[in-house]
Assembly symmetry: C2
Homo-oligomer: 206 residues x 2
DNA sequence: GATTAAAACTAATGATAGTTAGAATTTTGA
DNA sequence: TCAAAATTCTAACTATCATTAGTTTTAATC
């Protein structure tokens, strides 16, 4: 299969290209990959479907770029959050901050990110693969975060870090299915979810 | 909108009808609602697309039935699990059993259930609504389970039961994105996930 | 074996999808 | 101002989709 080129001629980013990406991200995240037509995306930026092909090689190349931007955004956001607290902060604080960063990018900032979380599983596998590296790099951030918590003894010995990471991120990513504006705030949710994983809900002293 | 009738003439269930449902559930859960054509489903049971209309009124009526069966299956499975342990068991045991039942139905038994978890958000809203009652009834099971845990004092006071329920079920439902046969067993995952929510991962005494 | 009902097929319809080639338009830069 | 480059549009093409009407085949019943 030919590599999907992105038709970005130089390093300056034309205006309409970003507008197309924005519109595509919004529509993909709302209605999904298959249910969103290029005509809808084009219409959202006052264009005709055929014109999109000047900027993107195909519908798949378009969503691929949306997916990648989504991961980059959330990665950056979590990174920034973690960097904003003092070094050698306790693991509990780092975790809470990382969770806040993840949820914030997903729920508030994020058509690109939510497109990724929602649609990654339903796009052609050939396209998924092209997004794997950038995706793994974000997962590595969490892997290292948890490993450090374990190394410093702030995570109980015996905890399976892989199940932990997948479960934690799973919980976070699924919030997109029930979060709605005007309801619970992102911070409320983040704090509670951090607490669940840190100290649990049981009132018994273990 | 006309109510979707199901074309089930009596209470005996014809063989091919179930075969169609099975095939549809398998394909929907793998490729999603939009990406699965009636031709594919028909082909999987050695039929032609048009023939499906003898059994189902539309593609939407077909997935609606798959969705409903999925919820019924998981509801039943969790219910059975809970009933299988002694009454007045501690909350921690009840929770672990419910989690096992949920994951088992989702990951092992479950094309119908996984179709539901994966596709509910991407089918037409008019169809979602037709599945709401049966869906809420399953959510009620969890609501009551957690409320009882709180009433009996086995859940810390102050825990927001709604965020708890949505977070817990979110974690469970997302396992479908990373579980694969031959890897971690369902029971391993269930036990770990129950522990995360019950006592947390922190080694510090809170 | 004839009659009826059930089940599946054939072949078409209209809608919509992604995509493309070439013409028209707008923007840019000398 | 004018030519070249960048951008968008027009108008199709092919493919595929859900759906339907009418026909044929299979199964059941008497």
């Amino acid at each position: 299969m030919a590599v999907l080129k992105t038709k970005r001629s130089s390093n300056k980013v034309p205006k309409s290209r970003k507008q197309i990406l924005d519109a595509a991200a919004a529509l993909f995240s709302q209605h999904g990959f298959d249910a969103t037509s290029l005509r809808e995306i084009a219409s959202a930026v006052n264009m005709k479907a055929g014109s999109l092909y000047y900027h993107f090689e195909s519908k798949e190349a378009l969503i691929l770029e949306v997916l990648n931007i989504g991961i980059e955004n959330i990665h950056q956001n979590v990174q920034n959050r973690i960097s904003s607290i003092p070094e050698n902060s306790p693991f509990s604080l780092i975790l809470e901050e990382a969770i806040k960063g993840h949820l914030e990018a997903l729920l508030e900032k994020g058509d690109y990110t939510s497109t990724n979380i929602r649609n990654y599983g339903q796009i052609p596998i050939s396209i998924q693969k092209l997004s794997l590296d950038i995706r793994n790099s974000y997962e590595d951030l969490w892997r290292e975060l948890l490993e450090e918590g374990a190394r410093k003894g702030e995570i109980k010995p015996g905890v399976d870090l892989k199940i932990l990471r997948l479960s934690l991120l799973g919980m976070l990513n699924r919030t997109i299915e029930w979060y709605h504006e005007g309801g619970l705030s992102v911070d409320e949710i983040a704090i509670d979810q951090a607490r669940f994983f840190l100290v649990g809900i049981s009132s018994e002293s273990s």
